[in-house]
């Protein structure tokens, strides 16, 4: 695919992801739209360009792995997996309902293509380090991507994992920090400052990349840049907007865990080009 065509294709995928996110949360009448929307561009590039995965063979051993450490934003991953064909797209309408494979927080035993159970913040990077260690031990070329929230970095275990990944030179481990500056109770800088994030990961022995998390071109480039074997784990810090793509949700803390009513739903879908 020609580059500009690819960017356009991925932008469309990101928009489609966002529409599914809004629909899922609206239909479930619960869920977390803000952080799902802020991660949508990165997830779109991951699943529709970067990842080596086989929807027909979800457990393919040589696949890349993805851990959504900020598990509450699972609609974005559920939608991506459905769009990739790991399961029927109709499943997305069952989010958070009894009997659904799409639990309120991700259950790896239920969802084809999902590599780790998550939802309790702070654990994903440890699990990712374990996977990355196992992949290296087995001589696999697999990469392990862990999607973290900025608020999540307040969990001490994240830094235990950061030390471990550097010690074992897990350069196949890529952390993506969705730095949208908001958490449940307010601004991250007020609740418990985590910035400067880059300096922290650098001090822990990581390679650090800072990008605009909504610029498809920048995401494409960084995902190429992190592929080299440098002996260091990599951290991509993405400057993002919580609620990105839906005007009334953008940078609004209250949309962390709220769901749109009928009228808000229509507005959101119009803005995302889906009305």
């Amino acid at each position: 695919m020609e580059y500009l065509e690819k960017v356009k294709y991925l932008e469309d995928k990101a928009r489609e992801l966002r529409r599914h996110i809004i629909t899922m949360i609206h239909e479930a009448q619960s869920g977390h739209p803000g952080g799902s929307l802020s991660a949508a561009d990165f997830v779109a590039v991951l699943y529709f360009d970067a990842l080596r995965i086989r929807p027909s063979e979800p457990k393919w051993n040589e696949r890349d792995r993805v851990i959504l450490s900020k598990g509450h934003t699972c609609p974005v991953i559920y939608a991506a997996l459905a769009m990739k064909g790991f399961y029927d797209l109709s499943e997305i309408h069952t989010l958070r309902k009894m009997g659904s494979i799409l639990q309120g927080h991700p259950d790896m035993k239920k969802v084809p293509g999902l590599d780790m159970t998550s939802g309790s913040l702070g654990q994903g990077l440890s699990a990712g380090a374990g996977m990355a260690f196992g992949a290296k031990y087995d001589g696999l070329d697999s990469k392990v991507y862990v999607i973290l929230g900025d608020g999540e970095l307040q969990e001490g275990q994240v830094w235990e994992a950061a030390m471990t990944a550097a010690k074992y030179k897990l350069d196949n481990l890529i952390a993506f920090v969705d730095d949208n500056n908001l958490q449940v109770d307010g601004n991250t800088c007020e609740i418990m400052p985590v910035h400067p994030i880059a300096d922290k990961f650098l001090a822990f022995g990581w390679e650090v990349y800072s990008i605009d998390g909504h610029n498809i071109g920048e995401i494409l480039k960084v995902l190429e840049d992190v592929k080299h074997a440098s002996g260091k784990p990599k951290c991509i810090i993405a400057n993002t907007v919580k609620g990105k793509g839906v005007s009334y949700m953008e940078n609004a803390c209250d949309w962390h865990g709220a769901c749109p009513d009928a009228c808000q739903y229509t507005t959101a879908m119009e803005e995302l080009g889906g009305a």
Binding site: E160, T164, Y168
Partner: protein
């Protein structure tokens, strides 16, 4: 009394035997490999040994990730940390997805006697017993440990293994066979049943010996697996004697006594007495003297027996 060996040594030797025959076996240490007896493993299998330092929560979730790659990680630390510091990690990232991780802990119960309360694990088995999908095992001696470590690896799912820091008598022969979830009927009897777990088997043996000499016929069971409990064996012995004493190096709440009490209550018949730490913290001291002071030794078993016989 036979040879005295701590069961943490059984783990240290057992994990090496395992690793020799199964290259999926890994050890994740939290800085205390010397004390948890995995130092030898780290020298023999450095590529399968991970030391995450003093970071137990990370150790547990790292193990979960490694297990998804088809490995069998044994997380090794002290029982207090292995049950409480990493409890939620084990619950959500290991037990919920039923990953093949073993939490193998030294310093169970009062066996780290002189270290004091901070290092004595008295709640651990109760905590893990209440998590769905978790298996809870405490071997009674060195040879039982060698075998049960092997059995734990053969079982596909999370297992909590608890060992002693201090030496305890070796009771079983090297060739004794063990099965997770199946208690060992050591001696049949008619008048009273004693069901023990882990290091308390030696106190139970002592008490049974004295009772037999006094003309009481004792049925003695080593319930090395607290969960899943061998309810069939408990019911069978209840039917026979109708009187049971449980003996555990653990808080009297939520451990073996409570598990057996569930069976007695559901059956609606039988008398039960529990020997264990009576919902209080102990202190620093010699392990055997602590058992005596905190009413967990063979004398206490005899006292309970006199009450219900």
């Amino acid at each position: 009394m036979g040879k005295m060996i701590a069961t943490r040594d059984g783990f240290g030797d057992g994990i090496i035997e395992l690793a020799k025959k199964d290259d999926r076996v890994f050890v994740i240490d939290c800085d205390i490999s010397k004390s948890c007896k995995t130092k030898k493993f780290s020298a023999l299998f450095p590529e399968r040994h991970i030391n995450v330092g003093i970071a137990e929560q990370n150790a547990a979730t790292f193990a979960a990730g490694l297990a998804t790659m088809g490995k069998i990680p044994f997380v090794s630390t002290y029982a207090v940390f292995g049950s409480m510091r990493m409890c939620e990690q084990v619950r959500t990232s290991i037990c919920y997805p039923h990953l093949n991780v073993k939490i193998a802990c030294s310093h169970g119960g009062l066996t780290p006697g002189n270290d004091g309360v901070t290092h004595q694990a008295i709640e651990d088995m109760g905590i893990y017993r209440s998590i769905p999908g978790m298996t809870v095992v405490m071997p009674a001696d060195y040879n039982a440990t060698m075998k049960l470590v092997d059995r734990a690896a053969a079982y596909d799912g999370p297992v909590y293994l608890r060992f002693t820091r201090d030496p305890i008598p070796v009771f079983y022969g090297e060739d004794e066979a063990f099965e997770i979830g199946k208690g060992k009927l050591i001696k049949e009897g008619r008048d009273i049943s004693i069901i023990a777990i882990g290091d308390m088997l030696h106190q139970a043996l002592e008490a049974a010996d004295k009772l037999e000499k006094a003309g009481v016929s004792v049925e003695l069971i080593d319930m090395h697996t607290l969960k899943p409990l061998d309810t069939e064996l408990v019911e069978k012995t209840l039917n026979k004697t109708g009187k049971v004493i449980t003996v555990e190096d653990h808080n009297i709440l939520n451990g073996l006594g409570s598990a057996v009490a569930d069976v007695v209550a559901e059956k609606g018949a039988g008398v039960l007495r529990k020997v264990g730490l009576r919902d209080r913290f102990a202190e620093s001291g010699d392990y055997y003297k602590l058992l005596e002071k905190y009413e967990m030794d063979s004398a206490q078993i005899l006292k309970m027996a006199a009450e219900i016989l």
